[in-house]
Structure formats: C-alpha cells, structure tokens
C-alpha cells in the first residue's frame, strides 16, 4: 500500500478518521459475530431486542466510508492472499458447530452428513474462487 496523492483538504483529520473507521469496523464485526453465535445458540435472544439488519447497515456504511476515504487518499491494496493460518481451524470448527446447531431437529447422522457436505462444498467454492490460476 502506498500513498500516491493526498487531497488538499484537512488530510490529517481524514487520516485519523480512516484509522478509526478500521477500529470501528473491527469492533462491529466482533460484535456481529458474537450476536450471530448467540442467535444461533438461542434464536431470538438478540434479534427480538436488537435489529440485526441495522447492525449490517452500519457495517456497510463503515465499509463504504473506508472505501470513500481510501479513494480520497488514493490508497491501493494488493489482492489478498488467503492462506492457511492459525485461526482457520477455529473458524471451521465454529462454522461446523453453528451449522450443526441450526439442524438440531434432524437426527444426529442426518445432521452430520448435511453439515459435513456443506463444509465440503464451501471448501470447493473456496478452492475455485481463490485458485491462483484464476
């Protein structure tokens, strides 16, 4: 990433806001994940009191703001290289548990088959989308 050209107006403030928006996005995503986990474990516990749609809208607004300010600063990023890292197994396990939890009404073996098949399909999509040849 490199700064190519700074806009003529109050660049200091914008730079701080840009960094703060990243912090805000991080906090919002952590909260949203926590809400989804709680909602998955006990449907209605969050959504009956807090609108998840509004949270998503706020996340999108923060993202758009980051993009907008990024364009002002003409910030460019290299394409992300997604590789195997430490959190990946945790995320897969979490996805497995959430999917399994949402299928509790099914018999255990049906639940396992559907969950594992879904994860396998996600893995294939991942391979196709992030294949370096593409």
């Amino acid at each position: 990433m490199r700064i190519l050209k700074l806009p003529p107006f109050n660049k200091d403030a914008l730079l701080i806001i840009y960094k703060l928006l990243y912090d805000a996005l991080f906090l919002l995503l952590i909260s949203f994940i926590a809400m989804l986990i709680a909602e998955g474990a006990l449907p209605g516990i969050v959504s009956s009191h807090i609108s998840l749609t509004r949270v998503v809208i706020v996340i999108l607004l923060v993202l758009l703001s980051i993009i907008w300010i990024g364009k002002k600063f003409q910030l460019t990023y290299a394409a992300p290289v997604i590789k195997k890292n430490k959190p990946l197994p945790v995320l897969i396990l979490l996805a497995f548990l959430l999917m399994g939890n949402s299928l509790l009404k099914f018999a255990l073996w049906e639940n396992m088959i559907i969950t594992l098949t879904t994860l396998f399909l996600f893995f294939l999509f991942y391979q196709i989308i992030f294949d370096p040849k593409n």
Partner: protein, 447 residues
C-alpha cells in the same frame, strides 16, 4: 493496543490525537454494548391496541371494561367522562410506564386527561358481585330448622321426622345462624318423602354420587368428592338404590378452581375444563402455592375437556378463591365477577380450597399521570408514571384507566413498561434464558 492500519504512519502530534479518539471510540463501544445488554436483560415491554383494527393480532393490550365493549368505544369513540380501561400483563418488576394515546385528526384535544394505573390480578379487578352462598348439596341447620341447598336455593325440610326418614344424619347438618342463610335464595319446602331434592349426596359402596334431575352423577373419585364435601354429608345407600334413580353417564369432578397435578403437568380444573399451566413462572405469578396441588390420575383428569395453555395473560378461571388478609374476606370468581363470602359459615365450606392471596385495598391504589401533547406530533399524547410502588403488590395485571372529559376519537393506545435494573430482574432474565436453552435443546429440567 491492536493497530489495524500499521501501514499508515502518523506524525507524533497526530498519533496523540488518534490515541485519544481511539479511547473515546472504545468507550462509546463499551457504552453501546452495555445498552444492548440492558435491552436484552432488562427489556422494555410494549403493548398496543389499534381501534382502527380491533381484531388485529398485534393488539396485545386488552380493552377490558364493559362499556369499552360497546360499539362506539370499539371504534375509538370515547364518550365524555366515560372510562376506557385496558389490561396489560407484562412479566417483571418495572420502574416506570409510558402511556400514549394517538387521536384521529378530528378528535378533541385530550391534553391533561388523567391516566390511572393499578396492579392486581385481572380476575381480582372484576367488579364485585352479590355475596355468594352455600354450595349446592350443603346441609344446614339454623334454630332447629333443617335445610339443604339445592339448585342454588335454600330448601327447608318441612319437619324433622322427614329428615330422619330420608336417611340424613342430623349430625351431618352444619350449624349456622339465620343470618348465614340470607346468601342463598329461599326455595320450596321439602315435603315429599319419596323423592330426594336435587344435589343430595349419596355414598353407594366406595363411590359418592350427587342427585341431579333424577339421575345419580358419580364423583370420579373420593378425592373429587372430598374437595367439596365431608363424608358425613352423604347418605349411605346400597346398590338397589339404582332402581330408584338411574346412573348418569358423566362423572362429577373436583371443586372449581382446584389445582391438579399429573406429572409433569399442572392443571387448573374449572367447570368441566382443565387448563394446563404453561410453566412454573405462570404458576407462581398467578399466586398459586405448590402445596395446594392435588395429585390426580389420568382417569380423574380425563373427565375434563383440555383447554389451551393457561398463561399469566389470562384471568383466573371460575371457582378460583381469593383471600384478602387485610379485611379477612374471601372472594370467589364467577362469570367475570368476584363474589365476596360475607359469612364465616359459608367461608368454612370453602376452606377445603386454598386461596390466592390478594389485597382489595391495593387494588384501589394507583399511580397517575396527565397526558401531554408530544413534541413534533399533533395527535399523540403521552405521559410517564412511576411504577416502583407496585413492586410488592401481588398480581400480574396492570389496569390502565383513562377518562376523557370532553370525549375523544382514539385511533391507537400504547403502553410501554420499563424494567427496573435490579438483582431480581437480572436473575429472572437469566432464569428465562436458561429456560429457553432447556426448551430449545429439549433438556428436561429438574424440579
């Protein structure tokens, strides 16, 4: 601190500003998290009633007073000085409530209309009816004159010899005063030695029966009989008595208002219907006592028509006995009225039932506020009332009265209850979450 934008280097003076702003951001985030937790653990509960769509499923505020059922009020037309009454049954203890009325464009101004909120049980808010008398089948003696309560009326035995010849034991008659008898209407005298009056009780073998319209109705069990009467009230007969009166096909059950338990469920039994109590929370909130449960079997419960789940949003059914400790008086719920028991002798016959404790004086204690026009809204009026004084009042029902001095054309009524932040409500919220987890994951709760 975690830096998510390491690539962007700041000048030292900007770094300081960023650190301060970042601390502020995290503080705001923490406050938002606390507010969200407050909303989840101590939720505000809203109730609404739309007069433009009175049958809407969203109407969870109950328009309850009799006059409100008139056609005009159902359309939102409140006549001048006519009280309009709503019932709401929120769960929890509340710090305050906001009452809001929205009027139609052509309505009169309802600013300064007094609003009164009271708390008790919905059934205990019923209007007071005529004092209740002795139960059908009760045997009474006053000043040497013998009576039986039959079809609600007090019927006098024309002479003492007749009492003996019909097989009654004089000892089974309850000694009362003339004053106690005034709560049952007088009926015809009993002269016929060949016929027993309606509601006479018999014991044939191990089964108890009650005579109704020339048929003997068996009690489903001795337990059911003893929930209303004593053994000595029944005349002992042999099986050949069935040649005189035919056996009815239906059975009689327990006293109305009896709490029956057939594991793992608890039911209220009333007028041939059984109301399964939705959960332990409802049982406690409705003022019932676990010690008053009568263990029944499937045969005993089988004679009752099962109703939908009984929740604390519903009033206590007919036959429920209330007791006001302050004035030492019982009340029986019957057909949307609470009937006082004015006589100690009558009360004694109801003593087999355990009452729900309530307080008539607290019924009349209310908190008030006056409607004020809301800012930026021409047709919405609201007011706030503190509810802390109700914390220890028994009951689940909040009754809201509004009397519009000049009448009004109401389109919507809303009330929001705000939950107090206290340990009791915190425990209740956690208990509710635990209950939901158990229900969601089909885990059996230990009693």
């Amino acid at each position: 601190m975690l830096d998510l934008t390491k690539e962007i280097k700041l000048e030292p003076h900007l770094r300081k500003r960023y650190t301060v702003a970042r601390i502020f951001l995290y503080a705001v985030f923490l406050i938002i998290v606390l507010l969200a937790l407050d909303r989840i653990l101590f939720p505000s509960l809203s109730f609404t009633f739309s007069f433009s769509n009175i049958n809407s499923l969203k109407n969870n505020l109950e328009l309850s007073n009799i006059t409100a059922k008139s056609e005009t009020l159902a359309k939102g037309l409140a006549v001048a000085n006519d009280a309009i009454t709503f019932d709401a049954n929120p769960s929890g203890t509340f710090s305050s409530a906001t009452v809001k009325f929205t009027t139609d464009n052509n309505s009169k101004n309802i600013e300064n209309t007094p609003i009164r909120i009271r708390k008790s049980y919905e059934a205990f808010f019923y209007p007071t009816g005529a004092p209740i008398g002795f139960r059908d089948g009760t045997l009474l003696v006053a000043d040497g004159v013998y009576y039986i309560v039959s079809d609600g009326a007090l019927r006098k035995f024309s002479n003492i010899a007749l009492v003996t010849r019909l097989g009654y034991s004089k000892n089974s008659f309850l000694q009362v005063s003339q004053d106690d008898l005034k709560y049952n209407d007088p009926g015809d005298d009993i002269n016929d030695i060949g016929n027993y009056p309606n509601d006479t009780l018999f014991a044939i073998g191990d089964t108890y029966y009650q005579l109704k319209n020339q048929q003997l109705y068996p009690f489903v069990s001795t337990k059911a009989f003893f929930s209303q009467f004593d053994a000595n009230q029944a005349i002992i007969k042999t099986a050949d008595f069935f040649s005189q009166y035919e056996l009815a096909e239906t059975s009689l059950g327990f006293a109305d208002g009896t709490l029956a338990s057939l594991a793992p469920s608890v039911f209220i039994l009333s007028e041939g219907k059984s109301y399964p109590i939705s959960n332990a929370e409802t049982f406690i909130k409705m003022g019932f006592d676990w010690n008053n449960l009568v263990q029944v079997d499937s045969v005993e419960l089988g004679i009752y028509e099962k109703q939908r789940q009984f929740t604390y949003n519903q009033p206590h059914p007919n036959g429920t006995l209330f007791f006001d400790q302050r004035i030492n008086k019982y009340f029986v719920i019957k057909d949307e009225e609470k009937h006082p028991i004015e006589s100690a002798a009558v009360a004694k016959t109801y003593s087999k039932q355990k009452p729900v404790l309530a307080d008539l004086q607290e019924n009349e204690v209310g908190v008030s506020c006056q409607l004020k026009k809301k800012l930026f809204s021409s047709y919405t009026y609201s007011c706030d009332a503190p509810l802390n004084s109700f914390d220890n009042f028994p009951g689940t029902d909040f009754q809201i009265d509004a009397k519009f001095k000049d009448g009004a054309k109401i389109s919507n009524a809303d009330i929001t209850f705000f939950t107090s932040i206290n340990l009791g409500n915190f425990n209740a919220a956690l208990s509710k979450i635990k209950g939901n987890v158990f229900t969601n994951y089909n885990i059996q709760q230990q009693p």
